[in-house]
């Protein structure tokens, strides 16, 4: 009785819409600013929208992989994320996947249904460090998935589309060329919060600080205007909240994100009640 990501999104959208939420997609946000008690959100066309409170839940993106050939072949056999829309076109072919997190594990299981073989390239010496045990067991029990530990990508080869990659074993330093029709990159979750620089406090990796994480030696964050500590999930700007993967120290799991997203509303109410 599991639930796929697409089903989760579809149901949540239906539910939110039914309760009267308006959903704008795709719509990019380029900045946030504060004007008195209002929190203004800026759009690429220069227009703004005002809200009393904001929840930032922008998640994370995969890091760009810096190796020769990767940029040129992106979209032509090299993909960031588990491009599920592409899975069918690699039926019966050999597929590579970089990453060792849960998303990489789930992608491997998904692609294994279509591809002849799925090879996971993992930098670490253990598959289970960042991956849930059930997935590790599923992967081990799937015949057409193989895992190469301590292995990194050196170069992607191909003229108009990916044909092979060179990988290097970190223990032996030996290089090897593997033929592959597709390479899916699922590593290095980056929060993509440059657009919030100078607005809310972030850690060195860009994840947004909130609640107790903002307190240094019992002191509230710089510029904090209120006579109370930031609420849980509240950022260094009152009324701006953060939930899910983009939050500093978040647990990178769907259930945790759903929990934080709903929990944030409780503090939004506390905040709105104090306006």
């Amino acid at each position: 009785m599991g639930l796929s990501g697409a089903d989760l999104a579809r149901r949540a959208v239906a539910q939110a819409t039914r309760f009267g939420a308006e959903i704008l997609t795709p719509q990019e946000v380029t900045g946030i600013r504060t004007r008195g008690q209002f929190r203004m959100v800026q759009f690429p066309d220069g227009t703004e929208m005002a809200a009393h409170a904001i929840v930032i839940a922008t998640g994370v993106n995969y890091r760009k992989l810096d190796a020769p050939g990767v940029d040129a072949l992106t979209g032509a056999g090299v993909y960031y994320g588990a491009a599920i829309s592409e899975a069918v076109s690699f039926r019966g072919q050999d597929v590579l996947l970089i990453g060792a997190g849960n998303s990489a594990g789930q992608a491997a299981m998904y692609f294994a249904k279509y591809a002849r073989s799925v090879t996971m390239l993992v930098r670490g010496s253990l598959l289970g460090r960042h991956m849930s045990d059930y997935l590790v067991r599923q992967i081990k029990g799937t015949d057409n998935i193989s895992v190469r530990l301590r292995t990194v990508l050196v170069e992607a080869h191909g003229d108009d589309h990916l044909e092979a990659v060179t990988v290097r074993n970190l223990n032996t330093d030996e290089k090897e060329t593997l033929s592959a029709a597709a390479l899916f990159i699922l590593i290095g979750a980056r929060p993509n919060t440059e657009w919030l620089a100078g607005v809310v406090e972030r850690d060195s990796a860009g994840f947004i600080l909130s609640g107790p994480d903002l307190m240094v030696d019992g002191q509230r964050p710089k510029g904090w205007p209120l006579d109370r500590d930031p609420y849980l999930l509240e950022t260094s700007v009152p009324g701006i909240f953060v939930a899910g993967d983009v939050r500093h120290r978040s647990v990178k799991r769907v259930a945790a994100a759903v929990g934080e997203g709903s929990m944030a509303i409780q503090f939004v109410h506390l905040y709105l009640g104090s306006l």
């Binding site: 009785m1 639930l3 990501g5 697409a6 989760l8 999104a9 579809r10 149901r11 949540a12 959208v13 239906a14 539910q15 939110a16 819409t17 309760f19 009267g20 939420a21 308006e22 959903i23 704008l24 997609t25 795709p26 719509q27 990019e28 946000v29 959100v41 703004e48 929208m49 005002a50 809200a51 009393h52 409170a53 904001i54 929840v55 930032i56 839940a57 922008t58 998640g59 979209g75 032509a76 993909y79 491009a83 599920i84 829309s85 076109s89 108009d160 589309h161 939930a243 899910g244 993967d245 983009v246 769907v254 994100a257 759903v258 997203g261 709903s262 944030a264 509303i265 939004v268 709105l272």
Partner: protein
């Protein structure tokens, strides 16, 4: 196109009659209700449906029947209709069998008899399952046709955008599909790729995501310029905030960039839907 089938099986004529009455009342306009008094009889009818290529959305089956139990029937039926939803009707004493069946036949739900009032105990469950079924069911194709090149980043992006926003589409590779070339041959000059063809005969050449969004009816601009709560991001955390926020007031949820936010849900979602996310 034939209406999809809701198939009810129960050996007790009284129960069967009230099941079909309740189904007909709520779903009669969109689904065809078929009933059978035994698993054997039902299986014969299922085979005929399959031969005529008629879709079955749901099996609603009594567990305790002579000759063939509900689970035994489902085991056979789902070989022919692997995508149909399966619901078992059980008495309290049969819950063990039902739980066992969750794994054995991929049971979607079991309902304890009696299910009165259906508005509370039957329809919410079935609405949810039928919305799921409809979302995944692919009738003769009526969506967007995307014609492009397999190794092109632009084509990949268009495909990815449609998939993430759950816009039904089919992909035709210019290098592999004759139909793609037939479609492109209707242009005087070869167009830039990708090209999107819509069911009404209109098309778009190499459109930006925002243009596709507007054309397929995604909602980009806000109704007004002010709200109480604005959620940026439409992943699990953002959508959860939107649901809980909206249930108590005004919310807008923005999907930054092209992150997914399904718009096409025909789900007649109820409060129970959210709870089922935890199942």
């Amino acid at each position: 196109m034939a209406k999809p089938v809701l198939f009810a099986v129960d050996d007790d004529p009284g129960v069967l009659w009230s099941v079909q009455r309740d189904l007909r009342q709520e779903y009669g306009d969109r689904f065809r209700i078929i009933q059978a008094e035994s698993g054997v009889e039902a299986l014969e009818a299922v085979k005929k449906l399959k031969q005529r290529n008629e879709p079955v959305a749901l099996f609603l089956v009594d567990q305790r029947m002579p000759q063939m139990s509900g689970v035994e029937f489902l085991e056979e039926a789902i070989r022919l209709y692997p995508d149909s939803k399966r619901v078992l009707l059980t008495a309290y004493a049969d819950t063990d069998a039902a739980i066992h069946a969750i794994n054995k036949v991929g049971l979607d739900h079991y309902l304890l008899k009696p299910w009165d009032p259906p508005e509370e105990r039957l329809y919410p469950v079935l609405n949810d399952l039928l919305a799921d079924w409809s979302a995944h069911h692919r009738p003769p194709f009526e969506g967007v046709t995307l014609v492009g090149l397999r190794w092109s980043l632009k084509s990949h992006r268009a495909k990815d955008f449609l998939a993430r926003n759950q816009v039904p589409y089919r992909w035709l590779d210019v290098e592999a599909s004759e139909e793609a070339n037939r479609l492109l041959a209707t242009f005087d000059e070869p167009p830039s790729l990708p090209v999107l063809f819509f069911p009404d005969g209109s098309y778009m050449v190499d459109p930006a995501p925002s243009e596709i969004a507007e054309r397929v009816g995604l909602h980009i601009h806000a109704e007004s310029q002010f709200c109480d709560l604005l959620v940026i991001g439409a992943g699990p955390a953002g959508l959860a905030s939107a649901v809980y926020g909206a249930s108590e007031g005004c919310t807008r949820s923005l999907s930054r960039g092209s992150r997914p936010a399904a718009r096409r849900g025909q789900a007649r979602a109820s409060r129970t839907t959210w709870a089922s996310l935890w199942a």
